[in-house]
């Protein structure tokens, strides 16, 4: 075998090994990312359960644990951001992403229900948005709506935003959609118990909130 042919073959083998190493490294990092998400989800799951238990135990004075619920919502929002990033990187058809998304949606629903329970028991009026989106290409305004909600959440930290993939095949989510009679005209929002559809501008979205709901929240608009 000539020197050139020998070098060319060794180089090919080396290239394949290097490329395989890169593929492995990317897969390893993505798996680590998924594992991190799963750990966060587990922690939130435990925290939610703990809060629910606390709520039951302190039936006479449930409002004592209200602060924990707020912290939990913040963690949930962070998890949502991470999950959205992972979905964007790995694709909506990634089974691991989908599994985590199911769990995340369940946690969101549980947190939403818990928030409602606290609100009822403690006579508070937390502002919450249930936001239904789609990544299946049937919601051209969802990216805009998602960014506007991120802005609102960052500007008004007490605002609770629960995002749901409308097409997610999850029983609890289907029930939530059915109970609230949310149609598949996306994006859809449930604000203060009222369902609304479409997104045209931030100003239009803000108008759907009860009067003073955003203004009475802790505003960070001056930052």
């Amino acid at each position: 075998m000539s020197l050139v042919a020998r070098n060319a073959l060794i180089a090919l083998a080396l290239t394949i090994v290097l490329t395989a190493t890169v593929v492995y490294a990317v897969a390893y990092l993505n798996n680590a990312r998924m594992a991190e998400l799963a750990t966060i989800e587990d922690q939130i799951s435990i925290d939610t359960l703990s809060l629910e238990t606390q709520f039951s135990l302190l039936a006479s004075a449930p409002c004592d644990s209200a602060a924990s619920s707020t912290v939990l919502s913040g963690e949930l929002a962070d998890l949502g951001t991470r999950l959205a990033y992972a979905e964007n990187q790995l694709g909506s058809d990634n089974p691991q992403v989908m599994r985590l998304k199911y769990r995340y949606s369940l946690l969101e629903i549980r947190d939403y229900l818990l928030t409602k329970q606290f609100a009822s028991a403690c006579r508070t009026k937390p502002t919450a948005v249930l936001y239904f989106y789609s990544n299946s290409g049937d919601c051209p305004d969802c990216d805009n709506a998602g960014y506007a909600l991120s802005y609102l959440r960052d500007t008004y930290p007490t605002l609770r935003v629960y995002s749901f993939d409308y097409h997610l095949n999850l029983g609890a989510l289907k029930t939530l959609i059915a109970v609230n009679k949310v149609k598949d005209t996306l994006p859809a929002f449930i604000i203060d118990g009222k369902v609304s559809y479409g997104f045209s501008s931030l100003a239009d979205l803000e108008k759907r909130f009860p009067k003073g709901a955003l203004a009475t929240s802790t505003s960070l608009s001056g930052r």
């Binding site: 020197l3 060319a8 090919l12 290239t15 490329t19 991190e36 960014y147």
Partner: protein, 411 residues
């Protein structure tokens, strides 16, 4: 996975080429070439300096040639004034009294005619060329002559770097030239060189006579001659420690003009008169690997450029659309996250990083094996951040020139 998938084959080919260079560098012939001692033999040599309006640099070029460590009676320096219109003639006249120097004046006819006039005026066994904006180190010629030991070696190239780089663009080119030292050193051992650069390439005179001297070669006479030598079955060697420093374009406009000339010359020569070399089994590495990869590099450079432009514009438009109506105070506030979770680990990024890392390794290797002086820090930084932005400019311009049949002047 998006449009970046188009880039994967090109990145794979880039890694493959670099792996080939790496393997070749480590092979026995390359090690033997590095171990080759500078020679004691001193055959007759002539160095031709073709000049056209080089009044600022030609004196320095001559001084460096006169300082070469070589017997004076064996080294002839032929200055060819190719009809300069500036003070080149007067500058040359200062060397008229030197016994090693010969000065030829002729009507302007292009670099190839100036070199041919020099060749016709000498009977030296080996003939070298040195552009009048380049300077040699004193030991360079003694590194080159031993490379002609094999009779089939028709030409020998030197190790070029940039003369006193003083701005980022020059540092970038210096890094690129030193990268070129490694490539030339490796590819010479598998007969893969297709250019004998103007700065201090040498030729066996008998072969030049056999092949018929220099041609215009689409304004790349050094490439045309190298391709002709390869086609004739001769070898082109490289003297990796024969250091020569050349003045490089110091503005982007001039650099793009120079590289457009080189690239259009490559396309017109290789895809034109020397098309038969591509895929030629008789020419081993050059035909089967180097030339096809060089053509692919042009295609890949342009494809990746338009891919990057398209992706950036699309992302920018999407980002603008999404942010429409949101207060600027929020939009313009960066929301950085230094969490490793958000590190964009992708096949594209890692393969691109691998090619860059290997390029850096070759630059360091080039400096080490050629013993080129100076620091590399600025060169590596500017190479990393500037090179990829500038290369597409001359690639696109070159291809459009060839497609549209545009022929530009040398300067």
């Amino acid at each position: 996975m998006g449009v970046e998938v188009i880039a994967y084959p090109f990145l794979f080919i880039a890694v493959y080429f670099e792996a080939f260079v790496l393997v070749t560098l480590l092979s026995k012939p390359a090690r033997a070439a590095r171990a080759r001692a500078s020679g004691a033999e001193t055959p007759t040599v002539a160095v031709i300096v073709p000049c056209y309006n080089e009044e600022e640099t030609v004196a320095g070029t001559c001084d460096s040639l006169l300082a070469l460590d070589y017997p004076k009676d064996k080294l002839e320096i032929i200055l060819v004034d190719d009809g300069s219109t500036d003070g080149t003639r007067e500058t040359m006249a200062r060397f008229a009294g030197n016994s090693q120097m010969r000065i030829i004046r002729k009507e302007n006819g292009g670099k190839h005619t100036a070199v041919n006039a020099g060749i016709a005026a000498t009977s030296a066994e080996f003939v070298g060329c040195l552009d009048a904006d380049s300077f040699v180190e004193s030991g360079a010629l003694r590194e080159i002559i031993p490379c002609f030991a094999e009779p089939r070696v028709a030409a020998v190239t030197a190790a070029m770097s940039v003369h006193k780089p003083s701005n980022l663009l020059l540092h970038m080119q210096n890094a690129e030239y030193i990268f070129g030292i490694t490539l030339r050193h490796a590819l010479a051992t598998v007969d893969g060189l297709y250019v004998t650069p103007g700065p201090f390439s040498f030729y066996r005179r008998s072969v030049l006579e056999e092949l018929g001297g220099f041609r215009k070669g689409h304004n790349t006479e050094d490439m045309e001659m190298a391709l002709r030598i390869q086609r004739a079955g001769y070898g082109i060697e490289n003297a990796v420690r024969a250091r020569v420093y050349t003045k490089a374009p110091h503005t982007i406009g001039k650099l793009v003009k120079q590289r457009t000339r080189w690239t259009t010359g490559f396309i017109r020569n290789v895809l034109g008169e020397y098309r038969d070399l591509i895929g030629s089994r008789r020419h081993h590495a050059l035909g089967m690997l180097i030339l096809p990869l060089a053509v692919t590099a042009i295609v890949s450079g342009i494809t990746l450029f338009f891919l990057a432009i398209g992706t950036s514009v699309r992302n920018a438009l999407t980002a603008l659309e999404i942010r429409e109506g949101i207060p600027l105070s929020y939009v313009l506030t960066p929301h950085p996250s230094f969490d490793l979770f958000y590190f964009p680990a992708s096949l594209f990024l890692f393969l691109a990083a691998l090619t860059v890392l290997l390029s850096f390794a070759f630059i360091v290797i080039g400096k080490y094996v050629s013993k080129t002086p100076g620091r590399l820090g600025l060169g590596l930084v500017s190479y990393l951040f500037l090179y990829g932005l500038i290369v597409p400019l001359w690639l696109v311009r070159s291809v459009s020139d060839v497609v549209l049949g545009i022929h530009r002047s040398w300067r």
